[in-house]
Structure formats: C-alpha cells, structure tokens
C-alpha cells in the first residue's frame, strides 16, 4: 500500500473509514515509520484540540446585559432617603435664600415663640437656636478660609456647600436606616 495522505490519516483518527479501509491503514501504519510519525502527531493535535483552553469571560458582560435588560427599580429605602434629604436641602436652601445674613427668619421665629405657649413655642425656639448655631458655624468656617486661604467665600456659599454635604450624608444614613428597618421586618 502506498503512503497515506493527510486526509486519510485524519479520517482514520476520526473513525470515518470503512472497516476494510481501517484495517489497511492500520497495517500500513505498522510498517511505515513516516506515516506512523505523522499519525502520532495528528493524534497529539487531536488530543490538544479536544481539551480547549477556555478564556474566562469578564464578569462585566453578565452584569451589563442584565442591567440593560432588566433595569433596577430604585428600592423604597432609596426613595425615602432621597425624599428626606431633598426636604432637608429645600428647607435650608429657602432659609439661606431669604436673607440668611440678617437672620430675619430666626428673629421671626423668636418673635413668634414669645406669643406661643407650651410645646409649640419650645419647638420654634429649638429651631431658631439650631439655625443660629448653624449660622455661627458657617461664619466661623468662612473666617477660617479667609485667614488660611485669604479667600472670602461668603457665608451663603459655605452654607450651601455644607448643606449639600450634609444632605448627601443624610441620604446615605437614611438609606442605611430604612434598609435596616426593612431587613428587620
């Protein structure tokens, strides 16, 4: 039998020959060193290909696909926290906007509390005290910036920055609290 061509050897490995052909090839492989060497190499190649080296897909694929297909609806805790933080920001922004420097709202609060008795008067007094304290803190921060960096930012700007920071912290805190409450239920 003449030497085997590459296709014949591959067909033999894959079991694609008839019984007679297989037996002829087998006999030839015993006597022909050259064809046998070629056969051995194809065997090794087939074995290597049969055990693929997989490449790990990055996790981002699954995450992105799921996010695009099923966008997450914000949880109740996030919505509540956002509402609470927005309320805080809104109330204090209004306070800053309405003549924060002159403390007119604080004064108005204090005047109102004089005519109001019991718990309502106490609440108004407490609020005006908080506002006055916050105002003093803002003034102190502004003075600090002026001394250290020689920049007068203004109490209103400092106030706004602090409020944004505060609101954000409040948002995160509220989310945590709401989550805990939800978890304990």
């Amino acid at each position: 039998m003449a030497c085997l061509n590459e296709t014949k050897i591959q067909d033999y490995i894959e079991g694609g020959l008839t019984a007679v052909e297989r037996s002829l090839v087998r006999d030839h492989l015993i006597v022909c060193a050259k064809c046998n060497a070629s056969y051995q190499r194809y065997e090794k190649l087939e074995k290597s290909l049969g055990e693929p080296v997989y490449i790990t897909p990055p996790l981002i694929i699954e995450r992105n696909v799921l996010r695009m297909l099923f966008p997450r609806i914000p949880s109740y805790s996030s919505i509540f926290a956002l509402l609470a933080a927005s309320f805080l920001l809104l109330v204090t922004s209004i306070y800053i906007y309405f003549d924060f420097a002159n403390n007119s709202i604080v004064q108005a609060f204090q005047l109102t509390s004089h005519d109001t008795s019991n718990w309502l008067g106490s609440i108004i007094k407490a609020i005006s005290t908080i506002f006055s304290t916050v105002y003093v803190i803002f003034k102190a921060i502004n003075a600090f910036f002026e001394v250290i960096f020689k920049v007068n930012m203004g109490v209103e700007i400092i106030g706004l920055c602090m409020l944004l920071l505060l609101s954000w912290s409040f948002y995160l805190l509220s989310r945590l609290v709401f989550k805990k409450i939800k978890g304990s239920n």
């Binding site: 590459e6 296709t7 190499r41 190649l45 087939e46 290597s48 290909l49 080296v53 790990t56």
Partner: protein
Amino acid sequence: MSLDDDQVLIQKILAGKRASFEELMKKHNKRIFGYIYRMVRDEDVAIELTQDFFLKLYHVLDKYNFEYKFTTWAYRICYNMVIDHVRKNPAHIESLENDTIIPKLMDSENYVKEDTLDDLVKEEIREYTWSVVNRIPPKFRELILMRYLQELKYEEIADITQLPVGTVKNRLFKAKEMLKTELEKDGVLK
C-alpha cells in the same frame, strides 16, 4: 416532544422568569466569549459583541423554534454577528503573530497542575496548540472553534455556516493540517 436543558430554560424565560435567562447566559457565556474573542482578538470588542449577542438573543428568543437544537440556532446568531463585525473591520481578524494576550486570559480553573514531566509537556502542547489556533486564517479558525470549543457536529457547523458538510469536513482537515505544520515548525510536535 422532550425538551433538553436549554429548551426548558427558554420556556421559563418566555414565561417571564428572568433568573432563567441569567442561568442560560452563565451556561453559554464561556463558549460564546471564547469563540468571539478568538475570532476578533480584541478583548474590548469581544466584550461588546458578547453583550450584543446576549441582548439580541433575549429579544429574538420568542422566535426560537423548539424543533431545532438551541445551540445551533444561538451559535448561528453569534456566527453572523462576528461575520458582520469582520466585514466592517477586516483588520481586526487577520492572523497576527503576537498572541501574548491569550495566556494572560487563560482560565485558571482549567489548569491542572500535574507533577510528572510528561503531563507538563502535554499541558504545554495543549496551550501552545490553542495559541496557534489564533494564528490560522479566520475561515479555518472559525471551524476549529466551532468543532472543538463549541463542540458542534459537522452537520451543525454546516447548518450554522451554510456550507455543505463535505466542505466543512475538508476545511477542518485543512485547518488541522495547517496547525500540525505550524506546530512542527515551532518544534512543539515531534
């Protein structure tokens, strides 16, 4: 008609069970990404195409005919996406000599640490063989990937590529001949 695992998952997805799609994606992600990555040889592009594939799969899932094997149908979508990409970006897919990125991305799970020298040699041959797969021309590479990475039969490959079974077989033989020649040239197959 008895359904296979994939088909059961598809039924659940079509019934509105999102978790089943996640399961289906997890099951096929490795093979799909492996195929795309080895065809386009650019990690970012492979990630994008794999994502696009799964998004498309989800949207056309209701058109799936349960009489056919899911993998053949899905891999055909994948094959067509890669072909489209290659047509638009021919430079991406051409054979490259530098395949240093492949060993970095090899799946550590599939590494079996063997003690014997013989097993180490076999392991090295296996890794080298698969790095050479990336160097052969795309029309041969895709068939090697379908046959050995995606474990498809000749008939299924023919169905996906729309080539006659004989052509698929001949092309695969030719691809293996190329691989053997390359490995012999590099002194890996002796």
